[in-house]
Symmetry: C2
Subunit: 379 residues, 2 copies
């Protein structure tokens, strides 16, 4: 459904992290150029391409040919698709495959896939021989604008999402916007939730630009390259300022504390809810909760809801198909969330479009009362 | 067999790593003071004490009481003793226990044990919530002078030792030299191999001091505190210079490439060989191999062998009980060692006592011929 933008120019976003600095290239046709871009930066390496059973038939042959052309010896490792692959079992299998391929510390793990493949592969790269090189070739919009940038890697625990992982920065990110043409509309929209997030955090102009240009971004072309590049710039700035989330990086969790609780409550069932949809509902909840606390005008809340709805994203808990979610389950998941600090709940709240802030002393009873009202509305 | 040195003064060694700097305290009675030392540096934390079934009956109650006194809430986690605990299975169990205890990012994992407990607990602390605080209370000489300092953590793979892990610096190390009185002579001697290593790397004066003082170090008292503190200083200097082993930190692997191959070849069976014994044989091999390459005088080799033998450490492959080890197995293990870079073998060789250096282009056939002669001598 999405038109190719192979003709668009490539944009480069630099992530400034001292010795761990790296470039993100954004544009069309980057898979075909991956070999030369990698060889130019990491001469003499060997590599493993880690991908999943959905992505492999679409893109693996082209990437493999590109690496062959540049003389980069490589092995493919194809994992099952889906969130359940972010498990200890698959991590162990992947680590063993990397060791079995006799890859060395200076060699690279190349993640060809969405957030699941990127998070799992980055974690494996971070722990094999205490840290191999890592290259991201994100194939979903969500991975291009969010998970491939910034070095967060990890797997899920039965106790919650992303509770186990490391910070391990990639050496290079290649965001091929042509690849997004293979996504379904639902997948593209889910990634778009993270695009909207950057506007809502602290870029009201970007949010306004999205309100005017969302159709062009979905259609493909220069607007899509522009949107991905601006998101990467926004994330790179936050990450450079606070690599390990000791401070303002937490703003990137806007919508995520609620969103993770929802995902966990539906047991990561993608038929019911994918991550970006959880974030969309989570952002709407964060804005409505902020309104309930008297922090933000109702008009701003409505504007956020309308934009999410305009691209087909859900904004309410009752939009999740299947059995209704109960408040006790959600509160338990929120308490287990890793953004909890010393028993107090931390949320990203907001005073207006692009005016979000870290609220560290949110009272659990206020959250419970708010969610009770939200889920009662759903019943 | 070792006399307590509770009266000795506490020495402080500072490890200078910028934002990740920390202190190592060395002296008697530190378990009893652990609560106050931890609370002074990490106010308000909760903790998990990770230990093993051998160490728990000896020291857990005292540490637990010390934490209670300082108001540090804590849970004990007791794992099986032995090298096989450094596995993916036990890592997964430990990570789940830490998450189950609802410990937060700012809380601490306290490792009470030897190198196995320290390496496994540090790895778990490094990956739970992408990095919790970590405190080391090393209970073996080997852990006090080597593995507890410098942030290397990890587990073993069926493909080799320590192939999976992260760099995760502790926030504090408490090296209670009284605790070493509970070690067997064999365990103490194994740790002493790492003490000797610091002299052989680049401190000929320290080696000479050890030749004169080894009996006093084994007996306990101020000489033992002095020896542990000087080793920690030596290691801290190397680690501060090269945290992630991109350069001279590799010197700390003196004796380890051979040693790891031997440990791997006997499948980490502690009845046959413990780590320090592997290092002792490995250091003797490194010196004899350097002599074979014409790098070092025979007298220096003899001096090293004599000192190791004086404290009861093995210096030859045929000292390992059980079936003879064959050269093919050893060469395969060496090739899989993580110090391999781009197909060339890296060894730490030496030009004399305290004159070791990193040799990056060692020819595999030279190693094979040397090991053939060594194992033929054994047969």
């Amino acid at each position: 459904m999405i038109v190719s933008d192979a003709g668009a120019d490539t944009r480069t976003v630099h992530v400034d992290l001292g010795a761990r600095s790296y470039d993100i290239l954004v544009g069309g046709g980057l898979v075909a150029r991956a070999g030369q871009e990698i060889a130019a930066r990491l001469p003499g390496i060997r590599a493993a391409i880690v991908t999943d059973a959905n992505v492999a038939p679409l893109h693996l042959d082209r990437l493999s040919a590109a690496l062959d052309e540049a003389g980069i010896g490589h092995v493919p490792i194809v994992l099952p698709a889906g969130e359940t692959t972010k498990s200890f079992d698959h991590l162990m299998q992947l680590v063993d495959a990397l060791l079995g391929a006799r890859l060395e510390r200076g060699d690279a793990v190349i993640a060809l896939g969405g957030g699941v493949i990127g998070d799992l592969s980055g974690f494996a790269a971070g722990i094999v021989r205490r840290g191999m090189r890592f290259v991201q070739l994100p194939t979903s919009l969500l991975a291009q604008v969010d998970s491939s940038v910034g070095g967060k890697t990890g797997i899920n625990s039965p106790r919650g999402k992303n509770l186990i992982g490391v910070f391990h920065q990639p050496a290079l990110v290649l965001a091929d916007t042509d690849i997004l043409s293979t996504l379904s509309r639902r997948e593209f929209a889910a990634g778009y939730a993270e695009v909207v997030k950057y506007g809502l955090i602290d870029r009201p102009d970007f949010f306004e630009w999205l309100e005017a240009n969302h159709a062009a971004i979905f259609a493909g072309g220069p607007a899509r390259v522009e949107a991905v590049a601006r998101c990467c710039e926004a994330k790179a700035a936050v990450v450079a300022d606070d690599e390990r989330e000791d401070g303002n990086r937490a703003l990137l969790n806007l919508g995520h504390t609620f969103g993770h609780a929802l995902e966990s409550a539906v047991r990561y069932d993608p038929e019911r809810l994918v991550h970006g949809e959880g974030v969309a509902i989570g952002m709407a909840l964060a804005h409505r909760f902020s309104h309930r606390l008297g922090l933000i005008d109702g008009q701003d809340v409505t504007r956020v809801e309308r934009h999410l709805q305009a691209v087909g994203l859900p904004t309410r808990i009752d939009a999740i198909p299947g059995p209704a979610l109960d408040v006790d389950t959600l509160m338990d998941r929120i308490a287990q969330d890793k953004k909890v600090s010393r028993g107090q709940l931390t949320f990203i709240l907001t005073r207006g479009i692009g005016q979000s802030f870290i609220a560290k002393e949110v009272v659990p009873d206020d959250v419970r009362a708010f969610l009770s009202a939200e889920t009662a509305a759903a019943a």
